[in-house]
Amino acid sequence: MSKKKLEEFIIQLSEDSKLKQSYIENPMAVMQKIGLEEQEIKAIMSGDKRQVSAILGQDAELVITGIIHLVKK
């Protein structure tokens, strides 16, 4: 259930300017107030994208490339 809360928080953070400002000023306090788990907060605070992917349940970074040099002329 916490994972859903984490997803909800991240999505809201992308759309809510007031929440975003609070997060920039004191991310730990905002995440604790919302009720994220300690390990989730720790992963996010680490800034390590692999740890964040792990807590979001993403096996690996998805692939996005445009291969312009091989697109037929």
């Binding site: 992308s14 993403q58 692939v63 445009g66 312009i68």
Partner: protein, 274 residues
Amino acid sequence: MTMSNTNRNLSKEGEFIAVSTGMNLGGQISVIAKDYIQKADIVFALMPHTLAERWLERLNPNVVSLQPYYGVGKYRMQSYEEMIEAMMDEVRKGTRVCGAFYGHAGVFACVPRLTIDKAREEGFRAIMEPGISAEACLYADIGIDPGVHGIQGYEASQFLFYNQSLNNAAYAIMWQIGIVGEHTATQFETRPEWVESFVERLEEWYPSSHEVILYEAAVLPIEMPRIEYLKLKDLPNTEMSTKTTLVIPPIRNLELNIDVLEKMGLKPEDIAHG
């Protein structure tokens, strides 16, 4: 040819709308792009992470990820063809198909453009809605204004393989530096020796000690963008991914073209700045 002209006299049921979702979940999508997603019968998605796919599902429960069409060792043009056909199969059924692509659907993304071309060829309405690309984020995050020095941009491997040229009085942006030299279209990483070849090529315009920037836009609001300053010669030993972009600042000042000024009857002091 305008967008309205290209879609004129198309009477077939079914349509393909390519929308751009921006880089960072719901905060960067346009109002109209969001509306297209919400009103589509089916949404095909190419997103940077699964959380973005789940965010899309909040807008429209009928989301199909295009990510499974990619595969390490699989020729990417084959992946692209399969993505296009999957979306066109739905268009041909007469449904309203939305393709949601992260960043800008028309920038470093051939699938949306090729699908639009195909849909129009077959008589269906097809358009693209623009969005916030990595380039747009780069200007905001690093603080570069393309109007000050000028900007030139290349796909890094294309620049390496072809006889392109650089103006070192302007910024240069090398997209997809993290897969530079990857020539098979089946892998998603580069090799140090390929990066070395790329650096050697750049040394035709810059000293190896020139300071460059590695940039990665944030794709989650909990992330900070990557803005890493390093010397050009250190590039082969630096970690990069498919999202990494190389920014090369200018190394010399702009020079006035005296011949043009004389033809126009102007002197250097006549040129206003600011």
